[in-house]
Symmetry: C2
Subunit: 701 residues, 2 copies
């Protein structure tokens, strides 16, 4: 997080130097001075242009060094090749915050990438913080400050935004529905979302935070900031570059590396960020969070001017995990008298039959009031008609809806319509900022579900634990790993590593020939499994290198001979370092426990269905460690295989306590040993009595 | 399908009687005569009101019987209780098509349900076809005809629509973007979507068909009509009542039964219907199909005014299964010169750098022309800014886009924007009906993907086969099923049924005691499996009623004794009819092959992962039979388990020919024996040599 004073200089500077500002002005001139003046900025402005002259009525300085004070913020608004010299002036002047708008740095070619690195070297030496390059900078609608060289339609909304592309900045009116305070980090060479998120979340003028993200450099720092931020404000994140093609475009754009989308998704979920699937969801959620202070639960009352639309609304609620409220006795009694004998008073409630008998406005008011008052309803969705031209519109309920919403400020009331004049209705309904209109009931339900999730799951969520204590097995583990080079650890070392950390493995012995194998098997006890040990063989079963359920010494000797023969046939010349004799365990559920080092987030845990089904079922959940024991349980329960572990279909339940122990030890192991870049225990066998690793693969980097 | 003359009378009547029309008129009067006159209807109109008098300048008849001709269409627009008498007049007059607008029939109480049944009895006797009750009837914008008593904003679009709720009818301007010809079947007591779909699909004035569906009465008839319709026009379906809560609301609304959503989904997919997830998707797809005649492939060219937005566009394309086009050499050469040295000419293409050097309008035109001309690009997505107020807007590319779209009518060009003035841009861009605007790139990609799906997958899809020939095993099967009452078939009968139809089962014998069991096992050959036979035991394994892998007679006797003991302990008093000795097969992939009789669609096939994972993995695909062998392959390949069947991870591939044989026989079995209401083969074991049923459960109804 930026120090408070730096953040103030960045977002609410008392003085700004526009370094390299153009002398042109008016339509299409892209003059940041013009934008700043139009914003009504009240601080001191210093235009700098090497030709000097008057720009928009203000005397330009020919050098930043001539400016009579050290400005809080210098905005370099010249093309790429002019930037190094101007940046040098900033350093010489002692400016603390420098913003660079030009493109063509890490978003461009190799030369640009080097130029960006050089700027960073200069800034490090001179204690400068840099925003950009390739940024439009900041918009502060509270302080009438904006550093963009592009004009744009600027709607105010109490929303804090960080983004990595100008499209999000100047598209904010469309994507976010408006701006309170916005920071575009552009290429994000220095100042990043983690530097500003905490400040935005603490800003009492803002009601919701939006993040547009293409990539990250320090995932764990981001997670720390995000986890704190969500305790203060709802944070909606829109991550682009999710597809491989998108990722390619992302790296060519801002030079930030887009990571594997599933890892990001796991991290966002762990932090309690609300991930938006598309730009519409951002705006939809913003409207809800800006309008309503909270939602008491997820029981929805549905009022509809048509039975068919009531069905659509119920579908939408269920789809997003909301519940259809059971009306309280009082509501039922108050409203039942409005209905003709043949129609039902229920939720969803069809207003049409009572309207026909009691008049539309009256029925609508009575029903709406009863629903807003009903303690068994946490939010109301209301679908009305918008099908008549204004002069014919005797069914316009927008006034009643606004009026009643104002009386019950603690219960969200969202509306949608049916008919061609929906845009007029949107304006009418949202006029007093106490009702939110959605084009569809699906979008209404999605927004209410997000509110419920934020207020009841995210805000109440346990915070991530601090670092874990060192496991006593680390001394032994360090010995095993000491001096090992990059690549795969031998299987016996991998198994020893597990044992060091107290993760039980099936009993095993190494053997060099069939005689040793028989001795080993007798020590372990039949039945046993025979596995080849070879640095050259990646998938043992594919070359016949695994023999299961061997019952006696005769079978073992046969299996030994056959195995060597088959390997020699299928992978001739493979180096064979002997065999592994392992306790054969026929029972239990096959699990996968793994870890992969991610460039952004470090070790990422993977847990789920193992064995032959691993890739095909893809029943694996990811988490960024460390995790508390409670979080481990949540992780386990997110997988489908957890139902089998719980003892589905008459099976015995696995010992989840022991499983959680193994997960914890595994987590400690990978966190304490950064040389492990990939590690799989697959299968990890779980049954009622034991958790046993049968196979493990460790890759060092 | 309705006979042509009936369809004409329904949708383009030359004369209409409005039976029970109100004498009121003006705002809020809900007078269908007023709506009809406002529509400019050119046929003959006969108002009927028992008080007579002048309504809107026309003399009303006091009885339908006084009308001087038999009108093509009679619209009964009186409240429920007046309907039977007026319907009787229609019958006496000899009217062929009668429409009933009143609510309170099967959508209301029990009395209403009975009244609806009585109307149908009268209509059957008098050869009348009924639309409704609870319907607003039809809109025909080609013939200026509308039977609604509610006014509504009426936009013309070349779209044919059927729906089951007035919300969709009067909301069509919002949900569908307009109407060409619309039929609301209301409670769908008689005339249903299947009656009109074929006519809409054959109507050359229409470009796309929309179906809003709450439920169906004859699923197979609907499928036949739908399969034919999609060869003529794209058909978009929006099915409500998908959630249990939605279903409850649906049955209370129109009285049509909403079936299980997954079965509907399978049926829709088989027919080639495009299922819309929400109302926005309907409008989005309509716009594309109404504007573009086709799409050559799925390679998308992306032009964006921002690199960041290009990433979003690429994400959106990949998400919906589109491809990012590789630019042709010619395009690259033409456009590369526009770019500064540090920027890349690629797809997605960022227009901003070339605009800075060559002017925005010029760069935009050059790039757009090159993309539209490029034979390696099948459709273009274009993101432009809409961020400036009109007077400042030097970046308005809407004119260039429209102009170039007009020059390349065979290549879809869709646009989205970024900035607050997007609604103006939408109007501008769509002005000449050759470009479609979408609020987001996701929605643009979804619409292009639907076009690709329709033109390249659905239209080219193999049609469903006719009924299958009778299997020679049917004689034996009929013997087994003869005289059997409702409930579960015994396991031996179930296995015999499979054998009759040539579905191989593991070799089995029945035995009454341990001596018979040993004899049976010797006949089959060890190892064997022992299973209890009991009409009282549902899940054999839960009570210890299954013993696997028995190697010899001693083990068999022991297992026999132990099994009886355990069952006696766990389910005392269960009737035991002996045991099943079965060949033990340790190898193979466990599958599920099942069938469930659906109220709408009859037998529904289920295929997927079996064994203990069945419910948990939920890896099951549904289909409405009959299926061709090719369709069987598609069915198999839709499951995740198919990767294991294909021999993933070094496993041997299962024999898919034999598997398809078994599926075909199973399909013939359930189609030929309608008394089977549920049937499961689980597990069906598949390996390289054999497909073997291990267990089967058959429920008769």
């Amino acid at each position: 997080m930026l120090p408070e004073s730096d953040y103030q200089k960045l977002t609410a500077p008392e003085s700004i130097a526009l370094v390299g500002v153009t002398g042109r002005s008016g339509k299409g001139s892209n003059n940041p001075l013009e934008v700043l003046l139009n914003f009504g900025y009240r601080g001191r402005i210093y235009p700098v242009n090497r030709k000097g002259g008057i720009i928009l009525g203000r005397q330009a300085y020919t050098s930043l060094l001539d400016v009579p004070e050290i400005p809080d913020l210098a905005v370099i608004c010249a093309p790429r090749d002019a930037v190094p010299v101007l940046f040098g002036q900033c350093a010489a002047k002692g400016v603390r915050i420098v913003m660079i708008t030009a493109q063509g740095f890490s978003d461009g070619d190799e030369q640009g990438r080097l130029m960006q690195e050089e700027l960073l070297a200069v800034s490090a030496k001179n204690n400068i913080r840099v925003l950009g390059p390739n940024t439009l900078g900041i918009v502060n609608n509270f302080e009438h400050c904006c550093t963009s060289f592009i004009k744009f339609i600027n709607y105010f909304k109490p929303i804090g935004i960080t983004c990595q592309t100008g499209a999000f900045y100047i598209g904010a009116a469309q994507y976010c529905t408006g701006i309170g305070l916005m920071i575009d980090t552009g290429n994000t060479s220095d100042i990043a979302v983690s530097d500003v998120l905490g400040h935005l979340a603490r800003d009492s003028r803002l009601k919701v935070i939006n993040i547009h993200m293409e990539g990250l450099k320090n995932g764990l720092e981001f997670m720390r900031e995000a986890q704190d931020a969500v305790t203060r404000r709802p944070v909606i994140i829109y991550k682009t570059g999710a597809s491989p093609a998108g990722s390619a475009a992302a790296s060519s754009h801002t030079g930030s590396l887009a990571g594997e989308d599933r890892v990001f998704d796991a991290a966002f979920q762990q932090c309690g960020l609300l991930r938006a699937a598309d730009i519409e969801e951002i705006g939809d959620l913003n409207k809800a969070f800006c309008t309503f202070n909270g939602i008491k639960g997820k029981r929805i009352g549905i009022i509809s001017i048509s039975g068919g639309a009531g069905v659509m609304a119920a579908d939408a609620c269920i789809r997003y995990g909301l519940e259809i409220a059971a009306l309280s006795e009082a509501t039922f009694e108050q409203l039942n008298e409005l209905f003709p004998a043949w129609a039902r008073c229920s939720n969803p409630m069809d207003i049409w039959p009572p309207s026909m008998f009691h008049g539309f406005q009256y029925a609508c008011r009575r029903i709406l009031e009863a629903f807003m008052k009903d303690p068994q309803i946490d939010a109301v969705m209301c679908l009305i008609f918008s099908h008549l031209e204004k002069e014919d519109d005797f069914l316009d309920a927008s006034g009643v809806i606004r009026e009643i919403a104002a009386q019950y400020p603690d219960k969200p009331l969202v509306a949608s319509t049916c008919g061609g004049r929906y845009q007029d209705y949107q304006l009418e309904l949202e006029k007093e900022n106490n009702v939110v209109f959605y084009f569809s009931l699906e979008r209404a339900a999605r927004a209410l579900a997000a509110m419920y999730k934020y207020h009841h799951l995210i805000k109440k969520k346990e915070r991530r634990p601090a670092a874990l204590p060192e496991h006593p097995g680390q001394i032994r583990a360090a010995q095993i790993l000491a001096g090992k080079s990059k690549g795969n650890l031998s299987q016996t070392d991998a198994l020893s590593l597990l044992e060091a950390y107290g993760i039980p493995a099936a009993r095993w012995e190494k053997a060099q020939n069939s005689t040793e194998a028989v001795l080993a098997a007798e020590k372990i006890g039949y039945p046993v499994t025979l596995k080849v040990i070879s640095p050259d063989i990646n998938h043992k079963s594919d070359v016949g290198g695994v023999r299961l359920n061997i019952g006696n010494s005769r079978q073992l000797k046969e299996a030994f001979t056959e195995m060597y023969k088959e390997i020699n046939h299928k992978q001739p010349g493979a180096q064979i370092d002997g065999v592994l004799i392992q306790e054969y365990l026929p029972k239990g559920t096959e699990l996968l426990l793994g870890c992969k080092k991610d460039p952004q987030f470090g070790p990422v845990l993977a847990f789920g269905a193992g064995g032959v089904f691993t890739e095909i079922l893809n029943d694996v959940t990811l988490r960024i460690p460390p995790l508390s024991r409670d979080e481990m349980s949540v992780l386990i329960n997110e997988t489908k295989i957890s139902k089998i572990l719980a003892g589905a279909r008459g099976g015995t339940a696995a010992n989840l306590e022991l499983l959680t122990d193994s997960l914890t030890c595994f987590m400690q192991l990978v966190l304490a040993n950064p040389s492990i870049v990939e590690m799989d225990i697959n299968p990890l066998l779980a049954d009622a009595d034991r958790i046993v690793a049968l196979d493990s693969r460790v890759t060092l980097g």
